[in-house]
Symmetry: none
Subunit: 188 residues, 4 copies
Amino acid sequence: MTTAPLRKDAARNWERIVAVARDLVEEGTPLQLNDVAHRAGVGVGTVYRHFPTTEALLETLATRSLETLTAHGEQALADDDPWRALSGFLARTIEAQVTDASLSTVTAAPTDALPRTTELKRTLWSVGGRLFERARDAGVVRADLTSGDLVPLMCGIAYAANVHSSVPTARTDAAHRYLTALLEGLRT
Amino acid sequence: MTTAPLRKDAARNWERIVAVARDLVEEGTPLQLNDVAHRAGVGVGTVYRHFPTTEALLETLATRSLETLTAHGEQALADDDPWRALSGFLARTIEAQVTDASLSTVTAAPTDALPRTTELKRTLWSVGGRLFERARDAGVVRADLTSGDLVPLMCGIAYAANVHSSVPTARTDAAHRYLTALLEGLRT
Amino acid sequence: MTTAPLRKDAARNWERIVAVARDLVEEGTPLQLNDVAHRAGVGVGTVYRHFPTTEALLETLATRSLETLTAHGEQALADDDPWRALSGFLARTIEAQVTDASLSTVTAAPTDALPRTTELKRTLWSVGGRLFERARDAGVVRADLTSGDLVPLMCGIAYAANVHSSVPTARTDAAHRYLTALLEGLRT
Amino acid sequence: MTTAPLRKDAARNWERIVAVARDLVEEGTPLQLNDVAHRAGVGVGTVYRHFPTTEALLETLATRSLETLTAHGEQALADDDPWRALSGFLARTIEAQVTDASLSTVTAAPTDALPRTTELKRTLWSVGGRLFERARDAGVVRADLTSGDLVPLMCGIAYAANVHSSVPTARTDAAHRYLTALLEGLRT
DNA sequence: CATGAATGAGCCTTCATTCAT
DNA sequence: AATGAATGAAGGCTCATTCAT
């Protein structure tokens, strides 16, 4: 409902642009709207029409991961075991962060370009927060950390996994080890 | 003997440039040699003479912290208690990373502009590695992390502490909490 | 079909830029794209879009002369008298070189920026070579020079004509005298 | 007598600078006084003291060839055979031009930085002119060229020999062939 | 005399954004 | 809606020349 229904050709362009942008982000090339336009075979103006700024495009890329994670989080809330629920959720989060570069950027950004992003982030933080608080109330988590520390910590682990390793598998691996260590530290 | 003895006026300019650069880095402004020159009240050429690239300047800023940390690390090696030695060293490291933005950048960089930096980093990693291995040999540290994870982890914690908090004291505070959590996880 | 059809306004800018560049080259001012842009009343970016390097612009200027000369050369090949054909062609070549500064630069350059230039030069050299060889086969030309000497010799004469005389008519005059002397020397 | 007698150390610096500059010119590197100073192991100021401009240095390099050629020319004037005298002189001139890059530059330059250069050039042109006129008076040389064409022609041949051949021997070779052709054309 | 640090104009190039077509 | 040419601020770097030490 948020987005107006697009004409068929406009929708096709939108898809192309997003696809190209995803490739670029994946290979680490900094997003440049001119460049995206060229590779997508559309005019610069078209890209600007769909995505007024680089950030807007990046947030659009991140949307998919944000939605998936939210869904996972909501499922986790249904889990009886608070610790298993929290740790599973965090594992998925870290994996997404390490895999999808747009996600880590958007997650760490203090402000958003799209209202939709703000909304999604808020929901996701809220779900994560509830998982965390449930675990703390159950006494399985240290008391000196708060739910507000979750996002920074996830960003930090993703960042740590990226430092010094450009190989994707090495990154995923490192991320898991770091999360495990942290979870051990979190657990009471 | 490391640095060639500078003429008095050259030394004064060097100091000015470094001081200005430190301020800029501190306030989060990206280093631009033209800008540095302007603010330091010297010609662009002067900055370029002293620091051929932005990286060289940044590494020069980081040198101080790198040296201090190395000295601390070497003192720590003299400590009888392997755990106390390691955790103390890491605490100082994190504090430096959070306080000095040049340090985190230089630490995370895969390559160096100045040979001096490479040398300093190597020494520091080596000291940290020895502290870590001593702790592991003493059986006070988890076995699935290695000394090579130390640098990424420190960078990650510093990054986490910086996300979402621009207030210096909040950063230092967060960094300590995160390190504590991690250390709990590390400890056997 | 060689050049993509330009939009009307783009074409107008292209023309302006080329015209300004021609003037500058004519008056001996070294081409600078910023300068060209300014004088043509367009933005720097526009010049860079049309001509990525100074060389590309210069070669574009030279194209006209290269094409004209090639046409003349092909007509000359139709002439029955090998000597008249060769000497006429060389006379036109020299005249063009002395008149059009871009031509001499491009001719003497070991490498080209535009594929089109390489193609044109190759064709022109080939035509000239055939004229020369026909004359040699007819026994009207010295045997110790080869068709490969033609380009250097033409460049040399143009250079000679330019040394010490900034007045256009004096240059053309000198060029003719020097070519005549050389042709006398070439003739058997 | 023109140059004031130099102190011994000043003389040594002068020699070093000139030697370095000769090497640079030989290898085709454009002369830059800072660069020369660095390679010669002296301060920039010292180079500027001895040679106020790049041109002055270049002319100093050319002096040697100018003097040698003048001497040769004067010997040639003693030769009974006007044609042999002229052609021998021109052969030496061309050889020098092709061998010594400073000479061709200085020869072609419309103005001089050092009075000494002007004087040397004047003398050399005069000697060359006399050789030429003697040959013309003897009726062994075409009448439509004048002694004033000698310098341009020599520059032109040297230029032609340099175009497209970076190999020294190939240059000398080409220069000889071109001169021979021209001399044939000059001869009546 | 020698030194070499300092200067800064000058040139090059990129890229986010606008707007006529 | 789409296109892509045009714009020009912004930043990077070099090098000839001066002048304090």
